[in-house]
Symmetry: D2
Subunit: 351 residues, 4 copies
């Protein structure tokens, strides 16, 4: 490996791609040598994201035109649409088996091929890689991530729910059958594709739920919560859209016959005492999305409901940072043996 | 009564006051003869709300300087801060006992003096009027409202939760011990008082919960849900702030061993079949705040959760219209024998 | 004509179409009998604009499937994209010559065929109708509008600049060679087509100019300002996008050797003394877009610059109402002999 | 001086104070040893800005309780309200004459005491310091800043106008009597004081001008433009408020008989070729506020007006970064002999 790791970003014209570039431009051990964007191939990155105009960056190219073998990437980040990624990564790893891959799509998150087929409507295109892939919730799977060649970076909604709930499920401190997750996300979570329902005039000055009762993120939640609890767990999950760019806040209703809300708080405090990117607020305090904006932090608050035996947990992160590209860089750091916080020291931008 | 009812708005410099003026300016049977705003007395209304510059309106005056006896108001709307209202209305009705009053504060909403004292920290200042007051959720208490001299207009959060839940509780179609209300409100619900936490730069581009586990609206919910269920009901309720001006959306999690989500939908459809201001969407459809903005409509959607026996109800209204001033005018119409929709035919402003 | 005029809206799935429906639903003399939306034909209007769910409206149909002859519309509003309108109206009037048409596109605004060809890059498809068309700035061309069969409704930017400037140019009170118009518009002015640059995440939390030095609205400004001044007038005009849904504010820099800013104010006050939809603020006062939102009002303020002989005029309107559909209804009222303000009494929605 | 410079931030509970902390937390050569906030003295910084909860920071204290002499600050940043600063700095420098001061208020920006008295209505409280102060537009006054003990950091509006205009005035490439600056700012420019007119519900979903014809920033513009032109220059300047948190965009109308718009562009390109924080876009390109958000960059675009001999310049920066705290850190770097970009390498946060 050269002094700096050679990095490629596949899908640099989308929001998670741009966020990767933002973070990696300031990473002490990374060098961006490849940016792909099939429909914008041949253009400078500043054409699709003018904020990068002052920086020297590789010209956008297409995946097809890229010679992964001779390029010898240390790490490839895949920020491509769900579904297209399987074939791209299969092909990339066939040509450059030493390259490590962090995939930001949902393609490799489900370890059970049957679950994948059920939720996505087709057999997986790279089942052998799916077996190899490690689920990249760094705080939970750090040991596996460090040894992985292919990491499936978790979804934004799921990271925001899993960080507070997995320690509680592992500790058997909450009833797994009584979890309600009411999640709210900013608009960048929907990506950059031009859709009528994502126009400013459609979504500003308003609020609504979507995917009520059925949303693909549930598959990932089911998998991880069941693993944590050691039994099948199915939660209620409702996503909503907030007229803001960045941020997810999950309001999570939990209960238990024995563990008090203060007990739950204590478990989370202890679980994350040494984690640089998870901050548990004092008991009763409530986090806000704006206080993590642009940073890789997750803020978690625990409060007592007025109904005895029930607690309300609020968890927040920036969907593009800890919910996607920041966590991807965190995983890269783990995979390459760098300090896990390298390049991730941005302080939240508020106001 | 003259050809048009003589109307006064006490507290015209706040948002619900302005909303009353907006609606009443176009009401066929109402004439605005009094607008009070103690700190702005002597100024034209257009000084505090420039949108009214093209209209002829009474100059702002103070409550103290108002001679309620000789003014002979048919209806007084009280849009004053919680707590100050009790004395004002007591005094007004002493001087002008024939005036009808619609109070938009929380002061007369709790019929139980002990509950009032417990939630507000002091004995009620007008307990005899509290007994007389009728809770003004028009769709539920229409008969009482028609005969009332003093109507306690419901809160915005509570209206948005009570309209979907009261018929279901009355029908015993949901488990009263398993109701979770995750509510989200636009910023106008917080009023016009200058507070740091309501500054644009503090609340735009972000989202957060507040009053977690304890919020005064709970008292009103407890009262009405218990009445509907015929037993004590305590719900989980979490309010959140959305960076938008108008609108509340409540995501309500309910369950029942026997009634299916489709049954719940059918009950609501039937309950509101003839109501002009409650619209139940087709089963599975999800309402958005923006589609009721500026109108007196409530939209309610019912969907099945993926967990059998559980349903997710979304309910939305404009907190300043159906959640406050629109419902107040609706109550006035009922009290004066006008068609209930008079002056309330605004179509929602979207986009 | 029947008791109510029979109205068609061509292009009901766009924002100006929806705004026409909002206004006409409450118009005392109008009945909506036709709504077209080619790609949504066969669907209910509530599918494309859920706010109309509580109202009975014609099912969306296609223009091709419409029998204009037998339908016998009194008025057809064309809210179709620029360029497609000419052929549609030509065909419509061939089949139903008694129908009156208000066209909200730019297709018939330029009376000079050479100017049209120069700005739009092709010969006009209906040159004979172009001659017949009356420019629908109601306050200026009322007499012509009343007799017109085809009215070309002005653009939103242009209405906002023309209302303050035409009286001043006519009075020769400002130097026609020294006019700078710095215009800012909300996002609905860009329409509902799904374009990347109009996504919420692209345009919220930011501000920018576009079309600097060259924008098609200039053709319309040139025509009207030259007519008013009696000589060729070319102005500097820069449009900007504001992260809000509705509203245009034009900051206009003018100067004159003789007329003082106060003189300019006096001219405007006098010009619009009897106009229901143009309100001139007291000298020195500054209008805000939010105070005209959802109404058909234009607010105009005049202030002195600190450089002697120069004035700053701020003018604001709602681009969908007075800037498009409201003015279209105002023109319809004039064409049919109704009171000009019929159906246009909405008070601005603020906050 | 120790290995790291010892830094104090006076006024840490305001927005520019928080922005200083955000930047200095990641500065390789700075150590925050003092944070003052008189009304919040004794509280942790995370109480007033929760985004700092994960970081170790000094507890807030009052200026009065601070022993500047023994503290031995290398640099004090003053982020206090205009007017109060003069006395604070006078006192601070009397006690700790070796401390260098960067003042973010307007108190020391005007070098002419008569101009100060005229614009602010009272004699300056520290006239001898006013003489010493160096105006901190780093790109223009770098040599002076490097030697200064007291730097008056420029205003946000003024920086955004001066960076494009000073080189053109110095080159005599534009007519100094024909400059119109139409400026638009995000809401954080108004600070964190609780004022009704800055509430979310007052300023979202709308746009307006303020201070038309008279605004205190004009004094600073007059001073700097006159210095650059070598003669008195008075410009037309109109500020506006945009419903966004951060960002200023100035649309500047200039003209000249000889220099073409392309000439102006060439002058700016050359002037800023080696500046890290000023980026001149290709001719005709237009900058957006969002592309500099959270960074210390200024983007400048030059385009031709359609009127020959006239150009339109758009200039943008983040009012809290390059318009305030970022420039303050840039000045500190120059004053202490650090690389000027140290701690200022944040890439803009978009979306």
């Amino acid at each position: 490996m050269s002094a700096k790791a050679k990095i490629g970003v596949l899908g640099a014209s989308g929001y998670t791609g741009a966020e990767l570039v933002r973070l990696l431009l300031r990473h002490p051990h990374a060098e961006l040598v490849l940016l792909t964007a099939d429909r914008r191939a041949g253009k400078p990155m500043s054409d699709v994201f003018p904020q990068f105009a002052p920086f020297a960056l590789p010209t956008l190219t297409s995946i097809e035109a890229t010679d992964f073998k001779s390029l010898g990437l240390d790490v490839a980040f895949c920020a491509l649409p769900h579904g297209t990624t399987q074939k791209v990564i299969k092909d990339l790893l066939a040509k450059a088996p030493a390259t490590k891959v962090v995939d930001l799509s949902a393609d490799f998150r489900l370890s059970d091929p049957a679950a994948y087929a059920r939720w996505y409507g087709h057999e997986h295109f790279a089942p052998e890689l799916q077996k190899e892939a490690v689920y990249g919730l760094t705080e939970v799977y750090r040991a596996g991530v460090k040894k992985a060649r292919l990491v499936a970076n978790p979804g934004c909604y799921t990271t925001c729910s899993e960080l507070p709930l997995i320690p509680l499920l592992k500790a058997k401190a909450i009833n797994p059958d009584e979890i309600v997750i009411d999640a709210k996300s900013g608009m960048t979570g929907a990506g950059r594709a031009a859709k009528e329902e994502m126009l400013f005039s459609e979504v500003s000055e308003g609020f609504h739920a979507y995917g009520v009762g059925h949303h693909r993120h549930m598959a990932e939640l089911d998998q991880e919560f069941s693993l944590a609890a050691g039994r099948d767990v199915v939660v209620t999950f409702t996503p909503h859209l907030v007229p803001m760019n960045r941020g997810i806040l999950s309001t999570i209703y939990v209960r238990d016959a024995k563990a008090s809300p203060q007990d739950l708080h204590a478990i989370l405090l202890k679980s994350y005492a040494n984690e640089p990117f998870v901050h548990v607020l004092p008991f009763g305090a409530v986090p806000q999305t704006r206080h993590v904006r642009g940073s890789n932090m997750t803020f978690i608050g625990v409060a007592a409901d007025r109904i005895p035996g029930r607690a309300i947990i609020c968890s927040t992160l920036d969907n593009l940072t800890k919910g996607a590209s920041g966590q991807a860089v965190q995983n890269m750091n783990a995979m390459l043996g760098y300090p896990e916080a390298a390049g991730l020291d941005q302080v939240a931008l508020f106001p």
